[in-house]
Subunit: 326 residues, 2 copies
DNA sequence: TAACCGGTTGACAACGTTGTCGGACCCCTC
DNA sequence: GAGGGGTCCGACAACGTTGTCAACCGGTTA
């Protein structure tokens, strides 16, 4: 900028004014400055600007894994809105590791992001307290913060979604419905288990529940164990998108009824089509981002806790009737 | 930092030393400083640090769309390596719009990223020249830069991949193979067309080629038109992952042979399984990122042009034999 | 002529950090 | 006791930008 100033024969401040489109610069001067800028290929140093002004125009996003379609959809929606607000998005994947989540958040804070959207991996978010007190707005998405932190949260209605799935299967004659889902330490998994259990009522049987990180071997073993029972399951409720796919692989053509949580591309092209309880990741991203920017505009109302509805989409696999009882 | 210094009763510089783990600070002093840091919840202002040191420890990544599994896989791999190098990733989606690509790159440059990985949407990258001259390393991935720019590039071997696909179909008796792909203005689409054409040789028939942005309606219409020909295609080669899925939907169960470029989850679970020419997006991301960091470490060799091999994975749809000729 | 005005422009400090350099102090040796 | 070497610490400038404030200029008014 100094170089531009001397090249154009004006003071530093005048260049700054031109670059920022501030009024009070003679058109001819501005033109001279712009010419010098082009000639020298100058571009404003954003770090210095941030240092001086205090605002970074940057939003931090912590998710579990960009390569998971749910989170990449959410990411894209967040990015869209962030860009619309003239900001940039810093994002990182925690890989479901609380330590990594914390590192990412702290790195983002050190870079003075204006706001944060977090899909938490861990349970303890007290480390966020000082940042929150410093006035950085934070929105939790998909999962709530750990105890003792009262911040904006955007969740899907997991409990009632799981309930819908179970009732749908019950309605098709299934009384033995297995639940295969992720580690119940993960909030969404626990919520879905809760919805499943509540909808089943007296039919609940813990031998039909298996919860752990999805791996084909594990799911295969769990399913085999359940199918070897005297009263085996005739239907499966899969706890998330990844689980649904794993279960499909493990079933290898066995025609159990299946409903999965989370929609996924191609669910309609499989034979039979896969019935799912669909969330809308873009919607969640949009809602979270809009909420964040409302806070950035100065909204200081009480923290919001939004639950987005989910929707059961019948495609075939959930409508397979229960075999007549032997 | 000033506050921490006065709280600990030391000079600014000493705090700086402690924060950066520089030697030459008495353990007791360091402890006092650390206590003050914890008490005040201090975290270093990265913008000021960047301003002073000139390195941002930030890498910029421009892709087409995070929500596309190919690019989200690439993203994740890049992120992994960037984090391993103690850097942060700024990423943005161009949405296939050259203007947006340029904006993103310029924003990243204004933030003084240390390096860039770009999946270009446009043809003209002369706007990068001044940045390159300033010494910022840039790696192009998936598609090469526009004319006149000689920078590191990591591509998939699109031509030979398309050739493999076509020869595979020829080997199963198909002489009439349609090609449905994206706008040939997109490098990869053009390359795949070229490979397709070369492998077909004299069998090439331009009436069996349709290239434009994928939409279900368009693909349906194109296919219908081709199938209405006197000598209709008996096989389809789809130009990318999104196209493959769209073609599957448009086929709606008609048993044409099909080979798609790009692998996708569930390709093996469809009936029949979908034969694909698989690229490895993570690999591409890793190679591009490693190359970038090699440049950042000072490697000034001539620009590299890497072509990653692709691999045909037979799963059923590509092995459907041609119907006996009427 | 002097006072005043609006439109332009520039000098300067400040943002929070780090690199450079030199000073204070201790312990050791001659 | 003077000199030398090492350890620890602090003063100061600089990074590139912007906010504040004052100065300048040409023309208008009292």
């Amino acid at each position: 900028m100094k170089d531009v100033a001397s090249a154009a024969g004006v003071a530093l401040k005048t260049v700054s004014r031109v670059v920022n489109g501030e009024p009070g610069v003679h058109p001819a001067t501005a033109e001279r400055v712009r010419a010098a800028i082009d000639r020298l290929g100058y571009s404003r140093n954003e770090s210095a600007r941030v240092l001086r002004r205090g605002r970074t125009a940057t939003i931090g996003l912590v998710i579990e894994d960009v390569a998971d379609p749910f989170y990449s959809g959410l990411s894209r929606a967040v990015e869209e809105i962030v860009i619309d607000h003239g900001c940039l998005l810093l994002s990182g994947s925690s890989g479901e590791q609380p330590g990594r989540e914390r590192e990412l958040v702290e790195t983002f804070c050190a870079r003075r992001v204006d706001g944060l959207i977090v899909v938490p991996a861990g349970e303890d978010h007290t480390y966020l307290r000082s940042e929150l007190e410093a006035g950085t707005p934070v929105v939790f998405a998909d999962r709530p913060p750990g105890a003792g932190l009262d911040v904006d949260t955007v969740l899907a209605d997991n409990v009632s979604g799981a309930g819908q799935a179970v009732r749908h299967l019950l309605g098709h004659g299934h009384g033995r419905i297995a639940f295969l889902g992720d580690d119940p330490a993960i909030f969404t998994a626990a919520q879905r288990l809760q919805g499943y259990r509540a909808a089943l009522g007296g039919l609940y049987d813990e031998r039909l529940v298996a919860m752990r990180p999805p791996s084909l071997e594990a799911v295969r073993a769990d399913l085999a164990g359940m199918l070897a029972l005297d009263d085996p399951p005739t239907a499966v409720f899969a706890g998330n998108g990844r689980y649904t796919v794993t279960v499909l692989r493990a079933l290898a053509g066995q025609r159990l009824a299946l409903v999965g949580f989370d929609d996924f591309e191609l669910a309609d092209l499989l034979q039979p089509g896969v019935t799912v309880v669909a969330q809308d990741p873009s919607w969640m991203g949009r809602v979270a981002a809009e909420l964040l920017f409302r806070r950035l505009r100065g909204d200081v109302g009480p923290s919001e806790h939004i639950e987005l509805p989910v929707r059961l989409i019948p495609r075939g696999s959930g409508e397979i009737p229960a075999a007549p009882h032997p």
